[in-house]
């Protein structure tokens, strides 16, 4: 086989002449160092390979080895708490064996083959099992139970089952006789090609929100489990901060955090922070439910493209066990740029801004892997994708943002002005939207309160009105407005500063349950109603303003702890008294 030799090298792109046995998207090993690569183009006389590692010092004439397999990720117990690079190599192990820097040509198994896991079988000998059926359970971390599923092509009858006990991942735990009569040995690991979505039995309608505890998200622009969200923002607008907050607090069972072409220090920070933070429900470190994929911006660019798919495949694997998984991809723009870079090296005809013409189809394929699904084994699980977008020059008309907008249903536009004023989360309420409100209405009405969406509508209306009034204020100042309009401005300020703005470093304010969000809206709207009727009775707005009642309401987010919601009752009394006194 080794008659395939490198013919040319141009950065991460390597070509082989006159080879016929390679297939598209096949994984190959390139050169004497056995660098990992993928076949991306085949013609009669030339095969083009993109190499996932640095090709420095590789020579023309070195061999290229075929593997006959597409690029795959290894799935099995031990994925959680780990951090992988874009092609699924465990970075912790690499650090232990190879030191601080990542050299080329390192080959290390993704999962630790020496660890022993306590396996509990839930199927019996002579059971008929199919692809995706759960055979055994392992407590992978304190938070997550790993369910060992039958790999693809293993449909048949269990004819032998190992006794319950401790096993390593490569130990045979079952023997299955498939329809051809062949007997296959099943271990705890399986491989799955990263660019192929894992099959499900069917897609279910979206109906449950992903509760994040971030008020502007949960109230104004909610995201559903199985949904997709795009977070575009220029640098310094808090994309990463937002992704970290969501990863910490959202109510998914499992988080796959993909750092794609971003800063190394950010990954380090996430690793450190997540191992110190406790899950509020179980008091275990958040790393117990988190997988990190890190392709920092100085790692090879071709692996950047793979990192997104590696993360998604891991997410789908856990979804198939019946979990709700949230995927944070930070940032998809770097992934798109990796596509552009490779495309440029292939001398393909560029479309907009040098991006390849297939950019929209790649983006849509990526986001379409999200969904609320019934899995092959009859459970429900979901993959939610939250993709950060880093538009060049904070210009939302650039191709990645525009194409993302077409394929996500929730759009959180981050705003530079808000970020400059240190308004977290800097989501611009005039540009953002969520298409999930209709799908989630039932859930909110049933599980929170029928007032929730009503309040939401009232708040959206006030903010829209403020937006219109601000145009006048910018020209002539707010003093000349009639009292009811000044009330709208002041109430909107209370909404913006007291409700939408959130302090991620404040222990009560960093995560706010839906019940508290509801009560906060109640208070603000009650104040609005009361003031409005006072104004209609002829009271001057400045009198209300001078009582400082708005300032008090704005500070309620810090004053009322998350578990003492009855304290909100005092605010209603306070408002009544204040308004009464000025009469």
């Amino acid at each position: 086989m080794s008659e395939n030799k490198i013919f040319s090298i141009n950065g991460p792109v390597v070509t082989v002449r006159n080879a016929t046995e390679f297939s598209m998207l096949e994984m190959v090993y390139v050169g004497n160092n056995k660098l990992m690569g993928e076949v991306i183009q085949i013609s009669k006389d030339t095969t083009i390979i993109q190499v996932y590692e640095s090709t420095t010092s590789t020579k023309v004439g070195e061999p290229v080895y075929s593997t006959g397999q597409p690029i795959s990720v290894t799935l099995g117990p031990g994925i959680l708490r780990n951090i992988y690079d874009g092609i699924g190599r465990p970075l912790k192990t690499i650090y232990e064996t190879h030191g601080a820097f990542i050299a080329s040509g390192i080959h290390i198994e993704s999962l630790d083959p020496t660890l022993e896991w306590e396996v509990n079988f839930i199927r019996k000998v002579h059971d008929n099992v199919g692809f995706g059926d759960i055979v055994a359970k392992i407590q992978e971390t304190d938070l997550i139970e790993h369910r060992i599923m039958v790999p693809k092509g293993f449909d048949g009858e269990i004819i032998e089952l190992a006794p319950a006990g401790k096993y390593k991942i490569h130990d045979v735990i079952a023997k299955i006789k498939i329809s051809t009569g062949e007997i296959l040995e099943m271990t705890m690991v399986q491989k799955w090609p990263i660019k192929t979505p894992r099959p499900v039995s069917r897609r279910l309608p979206i109906s449950i929100p992903l509760v994040t505890g971030q008020r502007v998200v949960d109230t104004l622009f909610p995201l559903a489990k199985g949904g997709t969200a795009g977070v575009p923002g220029g640098f310094g607008t808090g994309k990463t901060m937002m992704q970290h907050q969501l990863a910490k607090w959202c109510d998914a069972d499992l988080i796959v955090y993909i750092g794609c072409g971003e800063r190394g220090n950010e990954m380090t920070q996430a690793l450190e922070e997540f191992s110190q933070l406790k899950d509020p429900k179980t008091n275990r470190p958040l790393t117990d439910r988190t997988v990190f994929i890190a392709n920092t911006s100085n790692m090879p660019v071709a692996a950047r493209e793979a990192s997104i798919y590696t993360g998604l495949t891991i997410a789908e694997y856990y979804r198939d066990m019946g979990y709700h998984v949230a995927v944070m991809a930070d940032s998809t723009s770097r992934w798109a740029e990796a596509l552009r870079e490779i495309s440029g090296r292939l001398e393909e005809m560029p479309a907009e801004e040098g991006f390849p013409a297939y950019l929209p189809s790649r983006i849509s394929q990526f986001y379409e892997r999200a969904g609320y699904m019934e899995t092959l084994n009859g459970q429900t699980g979901s993959v939610t994708i939250i993709g950060a977008v880093s538009p060049q020059g904070a210009d939302f008309s650039e191709p990645v943002t525009q194409n993302t907008k077409r394929f996500v249903r929730c759009f959180w536009a981050l705003d530079k002005q808000l970020a400059y004023a240190r308004h977290y989360a800097a989501i611009n309420w005039n540009l953002s939207y969520s298409e999930y409100i209709g799908d989630l209405e039932k859930w909110y009405n049933k599980n929170v309160d029928i007032r929730f969406l009503k309040n939401r509508r009232a708040i959206v209306k006030l903010l829209a009105e403020e937006n219109k009034l601000m145009e006048i204020v910018k020209l002539i100042g707010s003093d000349v407005l009639p009292d009811d309009q000044r009330l709208v401005l002041e109430t909107s300020r209370a909404i913006r500063v007291g409700f939408l703005q959130q302090n991620a470093f404040h222990k009560e304010d960093t995560f706010v349950p839906l019940a508290k969000q509801l009560r906060m809206m109640d208070v603000i709207l009650y104040l609005y109603q009361k003031s409005l009727s006072a104004i209609h009775e002829g009271k001057a707005f400045s009198l209300i303003e001078n009582t400082n009642i708005f300032e008090k309401v704005i500070k309620m987010k810090y004053e009322v702890p998350n578990d003492k919601l009855e304290m909100f009752d005092d605010y209603f009394t306070l408002i009544d008294e204040t308004i009464y006194q000025i009469r």
Partner: protein, 481 residues
Amino acid sequence: MNLQYIGLNEISGPLVVLDNVEDVGYEEMVEIRLKNGTTRYGRAILISGKKVAIQVFEGTSGMSLTNTKTRFLGHPMQMALSKEILGRTFNGSGHEIDGLGPVFVDEYRDVNGEPLNPVSRVYPRNYIHTGISSIDALTTLIRGQKLPIFSGSGLPHNEIAVQIVKQAKIADQENRNFCIVFAALGVKNDVADYFRRSFEEAGVLEKVAMFLNLANDPIIERILTPRCALTAAEYLAYKHDMHVLVILTDMTSYCEALREFSSSKEEIPGRKGYPGYLYSDLASLYERAGIVRNAKGSVTQIPILTMPNDDITHPIPDLTGYITEGQIVLDRDLHQLGIYPPIGVLPSLSRLMKDGIGAGYTRGDHQALMNQLFASYAKVQDARSLASVIGEDELSDTDQNYIDFGRLFESNFISQGFEENRQIADTLDLGWSLLSLLPRDELDRTDEELLDQFYDHEKAEKFFAIKHKSIIRELDQQEDD
């Protein structure tokens, strides 16, 4: 391996092509001897069959298809390193040019470096005192951070960099582990000279390794300059446990060199003609800042770039901002008002500061003060834009208040002398007294507790000796009565 190839097949811009070559590694170093006795270096950047394209660092002028002898050196671009590089001056490709003879070699390192494993990084937390209020309080510099200065032509970015170097206690005799790596990328001779003189005045010249690629030096060498400088910095930090401050100026010239080279390779251009891989290329430089586990040293970067036409959305500042951990933006309007350092506070940011400030690092109230100063100063901008339409006299009292606050903030907090080294406690106290000029209700980002401790309106008014227009107006009214 030591085959010599006589002659060339093609010369095009900084590239030469050689045919019938065997056994060449990608990015391998090449030595080219000219008939006139000079030696140039290059590296293989494209290999196709037996054809090799070589990028010549010193440029191709004077080369012909026949007057060269080419030899492949069998290794990628390396740099000779030892602790003695401190106090020395090198050209862009790491060869000494100060006439003191070659450096005694302790180790050769590949200048491209290898990607740092994120697991092996230590999250930077140690704050570096710079003595500049607007940096210390609002965009704190952290050891191991990469914090660029976004500037424009004619703005005093070099002075600020020098002031940081001087006041960051690098000159302190007790801190023997501090050193500076300075890389001049296509800057004018005067600028390089200014830095050298300033280092000399600060008494740190023997702790500086200088890499000079001046404006009239070849552009290919400019592409290598930061790589050599950072390789030296990594060597000093991780082998000799030193805290290295790297100053790269001017990154804009570097990116332009990259664009020039890319177009000579006939690559498909991205935005504004810059190559599509500009982000990856810049990241491979900036990401070399940091702290590594089990090493006592650190690499801190202050890249300086001049924004073409002061445009922050230009690809160079834009991509830089996406990679670096914040930015210090200089503001031409402040500069024209005579304020030094003219740091535009609102667009400036330090991403790492939140974990490097507060109790134990600076002071417990730092975070709250910073948030409040940003929020209040943002409102100053609103008040100003309103005033520019309706005139300052028509503003409400609160807006008037903000205008006054903004003016004093700029003239007392942002502005300071080139030699002035403010202690962090003084800076924070100054911030609180400025905030105390505003009505207490306006400070909505702080706890009541902190306000009780630090808010003192009367003292602040006395301190800044202001007579509010409202007071004057009241007096006027009384007189009228």
